[in-house]
Amino acid sequence: MRGEKLFSRGIGAGREALMIAELGHYALMLALGLALIQAIMPIVGTRTNDPVLMSMATPIAIAHFAFVAMASTALAICYVVSDFSVLNVFENSNSQMPFMYRLTSVWGNHEGSMMLWVSILAFFGALVAVFGNNLPVVLKANALAVQGWIAAAFHLFILTTSNPFVRIPQAPFEGRDLNPILQDPGLAFHPPLLYLGYVGFSIAFSFAIAALIEGRIDAAWARWVRPWVLGAWMCLTVGIAGGSYWAYYTLGWGGFWFWDPVENASLMPWLAGTALLHSAVVMEKRGALKVWTILLAIVTFSLSLIGTFLVRSGVLTSVHAFATDPMRGVFILLILIVFIGGALALYGWRAPLLKQGGLFAPISREGALVFNNLFLTTACATVFVGTLYPLALEALTGEKISVGPPFFNATFAPLFIALMVVMPFGPLLGWKRGDLLSAAQRLLAAAILAALAMAAALALEQGGPVFAPLAAGVAVFVMVGAIIDVAERTQFLRVPLRVVLRRAVGLPRSAWGTAFAHFGLGVTLLGIVAVTAWGSERISEMKVGDTLDIARYRVTFAGLFNRQGPNYHEAVGRFLVRRMNGDLIGAMEPSRRTFPVRSMTTTQAALMTRGVSQLYVSLGDPTQKGNVAVRLYYKPIVLLIWLGGAIMCAGGALSLSDRRLRVGAPQPARARVALRAAE
């Protein structure tokens, strides 16, 4: 019976799929070939001054993307049709899974996620090729060549150590299912967004290397690179925030950030990328900080590569570490050494050739941006040390330690709070020469509101941590500071409202972007402080009819029932939430899902949103007497954490839509005037 099923499967679903996996494999090999051509031809062209070779970069980059896309699509088809004769599909999918999870499980495993990585890399390469018409030919050719090197290295990695198209000779009838923890809508968004961010920084890296190869750089470089950095930064911001929310609702105890090495791996490129974003402004506007900006571009993508290494090599154990294989770790380590080492060596050799920009006054917009960079990179360095120190120590002495939240709270937090205190001053200072006193005067309102918030927090707080009112004050200071920035620029209260509105519309989008992004950071901080300091939790064993009080709510356990899902069954607890006066607000239904294929149990927390606060219930093990262990949390203004991320991203989008930065935007005004004069 079973044999017959196997047989019919092998013929039926197998036949057309048979070709598809091989087609994907073949497309990937061709993509490797194209990447190598892309890596070599344009550089030969720039060396020999051959315009034909240089211009080859554009079509090759597009073709390269086409073949990578073909390979990825082939893999996706294998997953969607459940072709279990492909080992990767067999190990990570199951025909019982809903369509969405069959599709997203493509990247819910090591091989597939590396495919996603190179697909996005190739995608960005093609974007540069298509939209980079205004770039100098040499710069574009060199940058695309560097992209080719990176792509070739990762294709080689996939083909030799992580081939997703490997077949099993005897096709099994059913797959082993996707890790139940990953069977969540979050899987559809979090990895692609994170990779768009990680890999997006490769563009800045390639441009930096191209500038070093060429040995010259000017302020326009920053204008070409900034949109890419901004785009990558936006994706990374949303990717990190989304991952944080996913962890929050899926791990069953409502933590939103764990200082887990895998999270740090995504935070480090974010910090360096944020610094890069700001230093590129100085470079563009004032022609200064060129050499530093180049270094930041290299460092940011290097940190993305290190992140990939940490997550993909198996040196860490976490939800992100799929199957481990020592070969892969060694290979990724080699990629790291070659690319980071090579880039830094090139930097050391060529950077002195680049013309330095001038020095400038410490009290000025550019001075403030230097401070921004100083704090961000230092904060990034503390995260780097905290993440890699345990690994280094273990490698050197064999001693195992863990560096947890206390370390980061004692190092990263003070630096970041200091950064946020000076942050509102930056946009209020003029270029070249700022007036600190007048900036301080204009921020007076923010300072007063911040002090009020601190006082209110102190008054409301009963024995919470001391840092909380302080940090809440800083958050309010940053938020109001961002509003004041916009108010000042529109001369709010000084001119009629009509004029204010006109000015607000006429304000450069990048100024709006700054205000939004800074405001969003304040919002996030406020959420973090409130949840950490003023959240409450009740952990208890409950029997049917029991009631727990939390914050202003009264939660009653109404009963337990069973439910059948597509590929799991679950025990659902029903809880009724009432106000203290007895009014019913609604029901919450947390559950525990059991996935028979992997015999794994996951906890599905139930969330009830009240404004921007949430009630959070999750079920623990049933105890002997048929009672359940219940974890009940009240998370005050918790949604602000992720809302802040969304506001930051909106700021990035506004900034990206600024005329000055539009991809393929015209030359600077001077050049346009010159052109017009020539006509």
Binding site: T317, F322, T378, R598
Partner: protein
């Protein structure tokens, strides 16, 4: 302000921030890192009561005793030595007898380990990496530990 002064201010503040950061890190590395120990390590290294550590090993089969108010007692073993553990709270989804576990907390004077968190941190073979290494070191690693979960391409839990 002369060029020299400007440069001095920039470099000075850079060094200042870095120095503060280094100070913070050294301080934090002294105070807030936690060492990982197996039950045998606790005996051999004479880990005293009150020192915050991570204890890792296998949950000894048949040792889990649950009582009221979610308090639970169990024993962690590395095959050579056994350490009793007490914990109050909800256990992670993947806590089970005979499987790997990592607990964080302090030893009391009688040698019981009072855990304040139980980490469900392990890879798809139901074995925390630290625990696997410790078991290999003590010679109690069995190859079939790796196959108990029956799946090979799985994920793991934070």
């Amino acid at each position: 302000m002369t060029r020299k002064q400007r440069r001095l201010i920039l470099i000075g503040s850079g060094i200042g921030v870095l120095a503060v950061a280094v100070g913070l890190m050294l301080n934090a590395l002294r105070d807030s890192i936690v060492f990982f120990n197996s039950p045998t390590d606790i005996v051999e290294k004479h880990v005293g009561p009150g020192t915050r550590i991570r204890l890792g090993g296998l949950v000894k089969s048949g040792s889990v005793v649950r009582s009221d108010n979610l308090s639970v007692r169990f024993e962690v073993t590395d095959g050579k030595t056994v350490t009793p553990v007490s914990y109050q709270g909800a256990l992670p989804d993947l806590f089970r007898e005979g499987q790997g576990v990592v607990a964080e907390g302090v030893l009391d004077a009688r040698g019981t380990f009072n855990a304040d968190s139980i980490l469900a941190k392990h890879d798809e073979t139901y074995m925390p990496k630290e625990v696997a290494d410790a078991l290999k070191r003590s010679g109690h690693w069995k190859d079939d530990y790796g196959h108990q979960a029956g799946a090979s391409g799985g994920g793991a839990v934070k």
